[in-house]
Amino acid sequence: MTPTNWPCPLPDGGMSQEYALTFDRQRRHRLLILPALFDEGNRLRRFTVEVMRRLDAAGIDAFLPDLPGCNESLQPLGKQTIPGWLAATIEAGRHFSATHALGVRGGCLFTPVELPALHYVPVKAASILRQMLRARVLSSREAGREETRETLAEQARTSGINLAGYEFGADFYSHFEPLVPDSGATVIEQGKLGGSGLWLRAEPDEDATQSDTLAAILTAEITA
């Protein structure tokens, strides 16, 4: 496993060096992985990397780039845009010469259209936001402030919002909210992995059987 950087286009026309974890042995099958987003990204990162280790053992190169504003990125999330993220994932695919793309949960919203895509339990952007808004309502209530999801969503669309520590700009929020995963992708449902989704866990967790199974499904699809 090699940590590296990749040149990522930014919405303002500039460029940033973003981080990526890679298993690159110049093999025929090269998988670009778009990680789960925000809080789910933290909870699924170890699982994602465990799947990459198994893909490496099965002869498949894999690349896990940071989107600007996420994970190790030095870019502010509040300044990112949806077209910017779409351009970034296309560039990541080209930079790593990917032959396939895998979206994990919210990452499915950003798999480049030019690559054959596999979607691991894809989720609508609205569902991700619904949960983050609800967490905000609950924590505000604990602090003695009454908020509702409707008014928070309205505020988010007009002036941006901080949800669970993630700063969303108004433009990003408005364009993110209606996103749904592309229906052309091959969908891998959780039922095939023999256990419940690790994004449900309150604390990050791992499950070797699920990693084995997902890697085996991906290998079969990619090398078919």
């Binding site: 809080d39 569902s127 619904r130 949960q131 983050m132 609800r134 967490a135 905000r136 309502v137 609950l138 924590s139 209530r141 604990e142 509702t148 999801r149 669970a164 419940s196 989704g197 449900l200 866990r201 309150a202 604390e203 967790d205």
Partner: protein, 87 residues
Amino acid sequence: MSNDTDQLLRRILTDVLGLKPGQADGFDADTGLFGHLPELDSMAVAGLLTELEDRLDIVIEDDEIDGEMLETYGGLLAFAEAKLAEA
């Protein structure tokens, strides 16, 4: 029906809390949840409620969520059963 809801709720808590199989069988009406288990923070509770909505096919409004229903297993089960009864 109530027994099904009970089992489903135990399964969701098993998934959210990462419990071992069977561990949630020990939950009774007085088992403490929100405010008693450190890992059950607001994000985890939000996930739990969203999962409850999806698996029971119900909609939970913000103003239906109060401390009492989240505080104990019995409170949460009574809430889920009441929601199903009105659905």
